[in-house]
Amino acid sequence: MNLLDAIGTKETLVCIGPGGVGKTTSAAAVGLMLANTGRKVCVLTIDPARRLASALGLDRVDNEPVLASEDLPNYWVAMLDPKQTFDAMIRRYSSSSQQEDEIIANPVYRNLVTRLSGTQEYMAFERLWELRESQRFDTIIVDTPPAQAAIDFLHAPSRLAGFLDNRIFKFMLKPPPLYLRPIAMATRGLIKQIASVVGAEVVNDTMSFFQAFSGIEDGFRERALMTSELLASQATSYLLVSSPASDALAAGSRMVGLLRGIGHQVDSVLVNRMTPTYAAYPRDPGAPPEAKEDLMRLTQMRTHQQLVIDGWGKELGLEGWYYLEDLATDVSNLAALAEVAAAMEQCTLVPFQVAE
């Protein structure tokens, strides 16, 4: 089994992993490898840091997919712009331009879009869905933000759907039927009490935000549920990217466990930056002791890394792992990325040696 076989025909590939393991570069290289097989690929980065652009040697990458190079007709890249995506979504679901204006002028909306954490995650799946629906690409590769934020991203669709379903807001938005009036009254009392803590203005803005959203939320919820299904379906594959460091593998295993808990299966793990091994090359009998020691140190590090990785085998619940060796430099242009993609094509599954 090699990595290309494992992920080659998936429609959506989500790269997850802790920070600092080369996740963005790996996502970009996986994309290039698949594009080289003739699939039309888009790499979508959710990470606000401009790592994708710098790995490709580009000045910038925008919300709209662009070709990474004119020589590669199948290789597209995009970086999520939450505000653009959110505004576009409001325009799509608004029933009138008046509703659109009301939403966009609401302070809660402006705050939500421009300043506060969380929007990123909501908009990421919206963008993924848009790109999926446009049918422009055979494979979309999502480069998620590190660890916890990535889990938030994957929870976002169902969380948002649950949020819009919240009965409290239903009561606030529509006059309830007669028999439910007592509950609605109690709800109003509660809202008043919340207002006493957070301030009436915030609550009023929030309520008008929801009122402005009235009618939109159905389309929004439907979309959220469909994205949730898409992420859990067979057409989607998850690739955990890690380094051989034990804390990175620990964080990775936790993410795999959390994903399993919500029904998403992680299929492969790629360990980046393994210390290179030179065991296959002839030895230099005349080498001075320091050079021999350096070689031995590298060999020891490699052996240690393999032991650490095997130790996580059971936890990860996978048959084996793929790896790439450390490059000693950064990937900051397309030529260097092509080398990584070529090395990736050679990645074969290494079975976990699980101690009895």
Partner: protein
């Protein structure tokens, strides 16, 4: 470490603030560095408190620590603000979740307000925050400003104003940036520095370039293509690349920088912090 020496190292690293936020891109070792500073403060006779945001921050090693989980902080706030026993039910019924999803920064604000309370309590000489990765720290720190834009009155507005004051107080508060000698972390650190000092007006104390590989010179006395020659070439290129990156940090940031060695096989922040603490003499400081 002697008390007086620890005081000197501490003052070179962070100066004399009461609140230090340690941040950096994910995976650069910020938890180890936060813990390391706590160890040094303790050796200097001070009483530090380590604030973690993650349940998996590692076991304690004699440094007093507190884990702030947003839900628990929210619960505490509600309980002490007139909701009493009702708070638990509000949290369970999803009302709080709904409100804080509409106003996402509210959780951030309450976490910051809790940190402010710890600083102002005067129980600790130094509150060290093992802060979230830099991208998230920036949105965490921007939340009070975001909220004060939508709430001009009431308790949220007051909390926001107080927290902003604390974050901008150059005497009380500062940020330590942690980075690795690699291109993207260095680039991101420069951007985070600019953002912190300009839009957030928060003081940046120092930058730590963590995990510097040992210096290895390129040799010309090895058989070409042999395992030894390849290993030497790899180690020398890695060391050289790291030095170029560490130099770039010093060039770009007008603050003290420190180069800390790579500590092998330290799988927990506590182990890494202890090793770095034991090797203070191998650190390189650049004022």
């Amino acid at each position: 470490m002697e008390t007086s020496q620890a005081r000197i190292v501490l003052s070179e690293l962070v100066g004399d603030p009461r609140l230090v936020l340690v941040t950096g891109k994910g995976g650069v070792g910020k938890s180890s560095i936060a813990r390391l500073i706590a160890l040094i403060a303790q050796a200097g006779g001070l009483k530090p408190l380590l604030v973690l945001f993650d349940e998996f921050g590692g076991e304690s090693d004699g440094v007093e620590q507190v884990i702030l989980l947003p839900d628990a902080v929210m619960l505490e706030y509600l309980e002490t603000h007139g909701f009493g026993p009702l708070a638990q039910r509000l949290l369970k019924s999803g009302v709080i979740d709904a409100v804080s999803t509409a106003i996402p920064g509210i959780r951030d604000l309450l976490v910051l307000a809790k940190i402010k309370q710890l600083v102002k309590s005067e129980i600790y000489d130094l509150v060290l925050v093992d802060a979230p990765a830099s991208g998230h720290l920036l949105s965490l720190l921007s939340s009070p400003a975001g909220l004060s834009a939508i709430a001009s009155d009431g308790p949220v507005a007051q909390q926001s104003a107080d927290v902003i004051d604390l974050l901008r107080d150059q005497e009380l508060t500062g940020v330590v940036l942690v980075t690795l000698p690699e291109e993207t972390p260095v680039q991101e650190t420069t951007e985070v520095y600019t953002h912190l000092t300009t839009s957030l007006a928060t003081h940046v104390l120092s930058c730590i370039v963590n995990r510097m590989p040992a210096m290895v010179d390129l040799r010309d006395d090895l058989a070409f293509g042999s395992a030894e020659q390849r290993a030497n070439y790899y180690l020398a290129s890695r060391a050289n690349f790291a030095r170029v990156q560490a130099h770039a940090v010093r060039e770009r940031l007008p603050i003290p920088t420190f180069q800390l060695p790579y500590v092998e096989q330290a799988s927990q922040p506590t182990q890494a912090a202890q090793s770095l603490y034991d090797q203070t003499d191998t650190w390189r400081m650049f004022g």
